[in-house]
């Protein structure tokens, strides 16, 4: 099937099998390997990307479902050379260790702050509750997102 997907502001037209998962479309077809996968059952959330502005688990979305839609991945988070405040927050607060869950965490964080610019620690934890991290114990991820919220309120 021929699909056209707008990814990080750029149009991509590809012929794909209907069964191709969006995460594989991004990684294998477009070489956007910042989006990872970590499970088969939509539990871990390392594959989170924005689909029409809303975070979804791209391992459980077919690439054909994204036809004609807009996808934003971690590669589209920065504004050229300038990091997004969420990215800056993750660096400033040691919000990542191995870096594998980080893209998904940041995509959810970006969405949360767009929806709710001043989230409480509890709001942040709830927003991240469908995403797993084995390294950080979540503490510094929460702090990173608060850091970004505060930076954006300036």
């Amino acid at each position: 099937m021929r699909i056209m997907v707008l990814v990080n502001g750029k149009e991509y037209v590809r012929d794909v099998e209907p069964r191709l998962l969006l995460v594989h479309f991004l990684r294998d077809e477009l070489a956007l390997t910042g989006t990872h996968w970590g499970c088969d059952t939509s539990n871990c959330g390392v594959c989170v990307v924005h689909l029409d502005g809303v975070p979804v688990k791209s391992c459980t979305v077919l690439a054909v479902m994204a036809d004609g839609r807009e996808v934003r991945t971690v590669e589209g988070l920065a504004h050229g050379p300038d990091l997004d405040p969420v990215q800056e927050g993750f660096i400033a607060c040691h919000g990542l260790q191995c870096g594998f869950c980080t893209p998904g965490m940041m995509m959810t964080a970006r969405w949360l702050l767009d929806e709710q610019p001043d989230p409480s620690e509890e709001d942040i934890r709830e927003a991240l509750s469908g995403q797993l991290c084995r390294c950080t114990g979540y503490e510094n991820i929460v702090r990173s997102i608060r850091w970004a919220a505060e930076r954006e309120s300036l």
Binding site: P18, L21, S42, L51, P55, V56, T60, G130
Partner: protein, 285 residues
């Protein structure tokens, strides 16, 4: 990672079109909405549809609204949308109680109300919720539209009355002045329920005139504790009676042992959670 076997795929543009496509591809075709139940099953190769009919573009099936004497929830409504609907939460707090504990926020952005019901997983929260609410499910098929009580919708685990060629279009909840609540025990945030109970009460003066009790993952036929409902209706909502309703629900459910717990525990949980849900509902009067 695990990947689905090959299938054909068509995107429906209207409900009529979806029904035409289902007819065209026959009984081995399936509707896909959010895909959060179906796609994992396909990756694990436990489901093998030959064709998927995608209804994500059917805006006519999406949304929550009051329609006359009903609260109408389109089958394509995402969980997040139902949770965001202030009207749904005000009319039936049980809907928000349940939506808050279904999977996780990211899954709720994609998964749909109709998809959850059609999956008919014994651990699916909304089945018990809509059964407790005595909702009516609107099914569309080649020969027109039919309505089925939520309580008659589920035939068994993973089985509903939706026939090949049909699709669930809408869930309609009769409006009435009620109190309601849903309580769930899980092993971890986002896990399927160990057990959960929903309660819907219509109370006039000191009398319960209507009681709806739904049970999730606890082996209740049709997801409801009918005998406990019958016991409550017509009596007062006293603490003793709420506890007794729990006892009845506990005695009559048939939970199965699994890694979430042995039968003895789940049976206990049925009673405990029914009483807690009833109490929480009464606190909302």
């Amino acid at each position: 990672m695990q990947v689905p076997a090959a299938f054909q795929y068509r995107k429906a543009t209207t409900v009529e079109h979806a029904l035409t496509l289902l007819a065209e591809y026959g009984p081995d075709s399936m509707i896909v909405a959010g895909g959060h139940s179906l796609l994992p099953m396909m990756k694990l190769r436990l489901a093998h549809p030959e064709a998927l009919v995608d209804i994500n573009d059917l805006d006519e099936l999406a949304g929550v609204r009051v329609d006359g004497d009903w609260l109408a929830v389109g089958a394509m409504t995402r969980h997040a949308e139902l949770l965001a609907s202030a009207e749904a939460g005000r009319l039936f707090p049980i809907l928000h109680d349940a939506e808050r504990v279904i999977a996780d926020p990211i899954v709720r952005n994609r998964g749909t109300v109709g998809g959850s019901l059609c999956q008919a997983d014994p651990s699916e929260d909304l089945s018990a919720v809509f059964a407790a609410l005595r909702a009516v499910l609107v099914i569309r098929g080649p020969s027109g539209t039919r309505s089925v009580a939520a309580r008659d919708f589920f035939v068994g685990p993973y089985q509903t009355v939706v026939a090949p060629g049909e699709l669930l279009a809408e869930i309609r909840v009769p409006l009435r002045s009620s109190v309601s609540a849903y309580v769930k025990v899980d092993r971890r945030a986002g896990d399927w329920a160990v057990g959960a109970a929903g309660a819907v009460l219509v109370v006039e003066g000191d009398v319960i005139t209507e009681a709806g009790i739904g049970l999730t993952a606890l082996g209740a036929p049709g997801f409801v504790a009918a005998e406990a409902e019958a016991f409550l209706a017509g009596g007062s909502p006293s603490e003793e009676r709420l506890v007794e309703a729990g006892r009845i629900a506990s005695r009559l459910c048939r939970p199965a042992a699994d890694q979430r717990g042995p039968v003895e525990y789940k049976r206990h949980l049925a009673g405990e959670l029914v009483t807690r849900a009833l109490r929480r509902a009464m606190e909302r009067i």
